[in-house]
């Protein structure tokens, strides 16, 4: 007899095998299948989808907000919305990953509008008291310079860069997540890279020899 939905939520935590002897294969299943299982209260599916996407969403939000606590709030709210969306999710349509990022992107935009990050706050966050040795100090200076250059990019360019460079999105996926054309994503990335190359030219020249 197939387990009921209510009992499924209980036995899913007991071991690798379901009561009817099936081995859990969450890791091999597509996001669409996992979300169907989540709609039925399947905790293993929830854990697997969290394992796949949570870290990347935190990463994206952090690149956009530069605040870990806020990034984690964004990620949590994004996952809560996925849980609510699970029952009405239509497989075969949008990708779960793209949908998650659209939710995260919108939250980041809302938060950026709601606050005005001062350069002093950014500097305070970037300052690291652990400065032992010239190498460490130089690495901090490098990171600070790169972060400063990325943070100074226009918002749309930063979004495209965060998705494609840091989250490994294809340009097509980034276009879907940002609700713009692929050509627009390419243009945003090209402008971002040109600006960064100019901003970081001195650092790059110094490092060319070493790398």
């Amino acid at each position: 007899m197939a387990p009921t939905v209510a009992s499924a939520a209980l036995w899913m935590d007991l071991g690798e095998q379901t009561p009817d002897g099936c081995v859990d294969d969450s890791a091999d299943q597509s996001d669409d299948v996992l979300v169907e299982r989540i709609a039925d209260g399947d905790q293993r599916a929830w854990r697997e989808i969290t394992r796949r996407h949570l870290s990347a969403i935190v990463g994206y939000a952090w690149h956009m907000l530069r605040d870990r606590a806020e990034a984690e709030d964004v990620a949590q709210e994004t996952m809560v919305r996925l849980m609510r969306k699970a029952e009405t999710w239509e497989p075969g349509g949008a990708k779960i990953r793209t949908w998650l990022y659209r939710v995260a992107i919108n939250q980041c935009i809302d938060r950026q509008r709601a606050r005005r990050t001062t350069s002093l706050e950014v500097l305070a966050e970037q300052t690291d008291p652990q400065t032992g040795g010239a190498r460490v100090a130089r690495d901090h200076a490098l990171r600070r310079a790169v972060r400063g250059a990325v943070d100074a990019l226009p918002e749309r360019q930063k979004q495209a860069l965060a998705l494609v460079h840091y989250q490994g999105f294809s340009q097509q996926e980034a276009a879907t997540a940002l609700d713009i054309s692929v050509e627009a994503v390419e243009s945003l990335l090209a402008r971002a890279r040109r600006t960064l190359k100019t901003q970081l030219k001195d650092l790059a020249n110094d490092l060319l020899e070493e790398w």
Partner: protein, 147 residues
């Protein structure tokens, strides 16, 4: 580069580097061969490629933090807690919503009926409303009025 079979110019190459970065796997397949050919013969193209590579490595110096254990626990708890299970069953599953609405309406009707007065003063007399509340003994009202 107007035609895909035309040799790639340095300007084309620079523009593609800006669009797609230094990972050749991110480049459109139909331009890779021409880009390779240019790289093999142009020192300027090589320098531009190296510059793009350095930019990629600079960007990689700023990794995002991993989710904290506290966040992972909060996310897991969304399904672990009993209360969350109820929220899940009720909020996430629209099939329950009409049943909840109907139950709420029935409850409202019951509470409303229970709160009705059993009689109403009227001049020197008094209406006995129990017949009304009971559902049909309207004679009860008349008798009470005649008394």
């Amino acid at each position: 580069m107007d035609n895909k079979s035309d040799p790639m110019t340095l300007s084309d190459f620079d523009a593609l580097l800006d669009r797609y970065g230094a990972h050749s796997s991110d480049w459109p397949t139909d331009v890779r061969a021409a880009a390779q050919a240019l790289l093999a013969q142009s020192a300027d193209a090589g320098a531009a490629f190296r510059e793009a590579e350095v930019l990629e490595r600079l960007l990689a110096l700023v990794p995002a933090p991993a989710p904290s254990a506290a966040l992972e626990a909060r996310i897991a708890a969304l399904t672990d807690e009993k209360s969350a299970h109820w929220i899940w069953m009720v909020v996430a599953r629209p099939v329950w919503r009409p049943a909840l609405l109907a139950a709420a309406m029935l409850g409202g009707v019951y509470l409303g009926a229970a709160a009705l007065p059993t009689s109403v003063a009227f001049g020197d007399g008094e209406f006995d409303l129990t017949g009304v509340a009971g559902g049909g003994e309207t004679l009860g009202i008349v008798e009470s009025w005649e008394e």
